[in-house]
């Protein structure tokens, strides 16, 4: 049993669980006060409504204030955590992967209308069938892609 857990989670389970519970707590707090099921990718649409009146970005205009605040909160929360108990981090992932990956993530989550938090945490917590399909799709494709990229590099 222990060996089995060590194989699946070589770095232990508590850090992941505690982090996940905090993520759930933050999402729940927003919902308890405002009734909003907050996902992170909507800001990639709503932020542009500040600078363009094009209709494809106006869709979330009514939500842009809270989406901006959520984004600022995510940054501030991680920064406060890092200052208090964490350690600053710098990724070794090549910049080309970050740029190309980020671009596809931006296009994809906008078209899918949700990401790991919107379809993943909020969608699955709302028992949404469409979100379940999206989560299985992007996770499966991501595993396949990571395998192929790992083979090529």
């Amino acid at each position: 049993m222990d060996e089995w857990i060590t194989r699946l989670f070589p770095h232990g389970i508590s850090t992941y669980l505690v982090g996940g519970l905090l993520v759930g707590l933050g999402t729940s707090l927003i919902f308890v006060f405002t009734g909003i099921r907050a996902g992170a990718s909507g800001v990639l649409t709503s932020a542009f409504s500040y600078v363009t009146s094009r209709s494809s970005f106006g869709l979330l205009k009514g939500e842009r204030a809270w989406r901006t605040l959520l984004t600022l909160g995510l940054i501030a929360g991680a920064a406060l955590y890092t200052l208090a108990i964490g350690e600053p981090f710098r990724t070794e992932i090549p910049l080309l992967n970050l740029a190309a990956g980020g671009f596809l993530v931006g296009m994809g989550t906008r078209a899918a209308r949700g990401c790991t938090s919107g379809h993943g945490i909020c969608g699955l917590s709302s028992l949404s069938g469409p979100s379940l399909v999206h989560v299985c799709t992007f996770m499966g494709i991501a595993m396949l892609t990571a395998y192929v990229v790992g083979r090529l590099t």
Binding site: L8, I13, Y16, L17, G19, G20, L22, V23, G24, L25, T27, L29, I30, V32, F33, T34, G35, A38, V43, L44, R54, S56, L59, A65, L69, L70, G73, L74, G77, A78, A79, Y81, T82, P88, F89, T91, I93, L95, A100, F103, L104, V105, G106, M107, G108, T109, A111, A112, R113, G114, I121, S125, S126, P130, H134, F138, A142, M143, A146, V148
Partner: protein
């Protein structure tokens, strides 16, 4: 105003949780995608374990008349979106929420991914047809 404060505070807890879980490190996310460390499942599971009952049983938010309904669409456009997202996630180990939080941990290279994300959102909104149909 109060609602905005609640979102900000919730976002701060959310971001701190992502930093604590290590999901702000694309390397850790990639180690999940390559089956070396299944920790991401625990993060998502832990979050859903708290959020699901909250969504299910709360009838009246404190600062709003009723919970907003959850809406997600399943059609060719949204599925193509999730496929593109999956390819991008697999290439970089980066997804939107974790990327914002990662910037907070001082991870300056992640700004390249965030720039790419906003550019991708912009291109998607300009080049592709405006919106997914609401009825499918």
């Amino acid at each position: 105003m109060k609602r905005g404060l609640a979102v900000l505070l919730g976002g701060i807890i959310f971001g701190a949780g992502l930093a604590h879980s290590g999901m702000t490190k694309p390397e850790v996310v990639l180690s999940f995608l390559t089956f070396e460390d299944m920790g991401l499942m625990l993060v998502m599971g832990g979050a859903i374990a708290v959020t699901l009952p909250t969504f299910r049983f709360l009838r009246k938010p404190l600062l709003a008349p009723a919970p907003e309904p959850f809406v997600a669409w399943l059609n060719p456009r949204t599925i193509v979106g999730s496929v593109l997202f999956g390819v991008g996630w697999g290439i970089s180990g980066v997804c939107p929420g974790a990327a914002f939080a990662s910037a907070g941990t001082g991870n300056t290279p992640i700004l390249v991914a965030l720039g790419g994300m906003f550019l991708g959102g912009l291109v998607q909104g300009v080049v592709m047809k405006p919106e997914a149909p609401l009825d499918s």
